[in-house]
Symmetry: C2
Subunit: 223 residues, 2 copies
């Protein structure tokens, strides 16, 4: 039975990559730079989107696709309230976004009115890493409250990161978090990853993150 599953999964992944390529072509044609934002539940993806809007909008026109396992569109509403053109995707219990879900969401957005598209994946540090959504960069977000051992335990996610946003650094004084050990693990898996240490609560470090986004939007290049 397992062989049959693998062959079906391979077909699905091939179909996904095909749709992802179409999504990317569509975004490129519209001049929209897009990122896939992935993390554990509660690492602060929506808070980062709110801070990004505060830093870049309205000069940069920002859209948001929010993937959730249910119909509850709490995060998309937060994004819309902060000024993003927001689309909610109900994955129907599925643990990650796939390219066909993003394709559907793209059809609901006016891409000509956007410069940057942030795809907020389902909160999950395992499954989303394997699925190309047709964006330009994969951004992994982590929180210092998750502990300093996470790169060692969830390497597949850290390995695909073009950029890493380490959030909640305002809580470091209250936590036994060894930053050197954490960063060593990250760099073992992805030596050239861009790392941003931020607090979405205080705004610390958001400037450097916003500058990185701005450079990529301007150049239109992949990370």
């Amino acid at each position: 039975m397992s062989v049959r599953v693998i062959s079906v999964l391979e077909n699905i992944l091939q179909a996904n990559d095909q749709i992802a390529a179409e999504n990317r072509a569509r975004l490129d044609a519209a001049g929209v730079y897009a990122i896939n934002l992935m993390s554990s539940p509660g690492a602060g993806k929506t808070a980062l989107i709110e801070q990004t809007l505060r830093a870049l909008a309205p000069q940069v026109r920002i859209g948001m696709i929010n993937g959730d396992t249910t119909a509850a569109s709490l995060d998309a509403e937060r994004g819309a309230q902060a000024g993003a053109m927001a689309v909610h995707v109900n994955t129907g219990g599925n643990c990650h976004l796939e390219a066909h879900m993003v394709r559907q969401a793209l059809a609901a957005l006016d891409l000509s009115a956007l410069d940057l598209l942030i795809v907020e994946n389902v909160g999950n540090l395992v499954c989303p890493s394997g699925w190309d959504l047709g964006v330009h960069a994969r951004v992994v977000m982590a929180s210092v409250t998750e502990g300093d051992d996470k790169p060692y335990k969830y390497p597949a996610m850290y390995r695909v990161a073009d950029a890493l946003v380490l959030n909640k650094i305002d809580l470091l004084p209250y936590l036994p978090f060894n930053l050197d050990y954490y960063l060593q693990g990250v760099r073992l898996l992805k030596p050239d990853v861009q790392i941003f240490q931020v607090s979405c609560r205080t705004g610390e470090g958001i400037g450097a993150w916003a500058d990185w986004l701005r450079a990529h939007i301007r150049s239109g290049q992949n990370a």
Copy 2:
């Protein structure tokens, strides 16, 4: 293609339930009470196991099966160091434990030397909820640092919880966490869930959690 996938998945779930029933019969015959401990990455599952050992061992003889996506057995080593008979399961990238993995791990344990078995699942708030492992209770763990909206966004996991351990309450003074809103969401999904508010760092609340386990071990009843 999707219909084919669903039929394969149904076969897999049926096979899983069959193996889970066998696991449970085996644990029952040996008089071992077993729990499936599930949470986001970094909520504190291994720290809870360490505290549980401190509270209950050696009077209660504790075993641990630790599921990880890689060969790195960091958590099983922590459990063993704290005094548990520990077995590490490498899921090979899989995002959750399944009953056949637990069956293999059970074969590596001397069940006659155990009273309590804690199965530490892969850190994932989505996928593990759908898989019966053949234990007696599902314990969901959460951390206040994940935010108070998690029951509303990950209902499938909260719905299967027999007990909920809310960890890191020592950090509440530094967080915008609305406990009433959080608990309201939990009780909407699972009105009769047992809730323990703990800090695995300070030991606060561990006593009540240990009492609950002790009562179930003694009675041999399901949660």
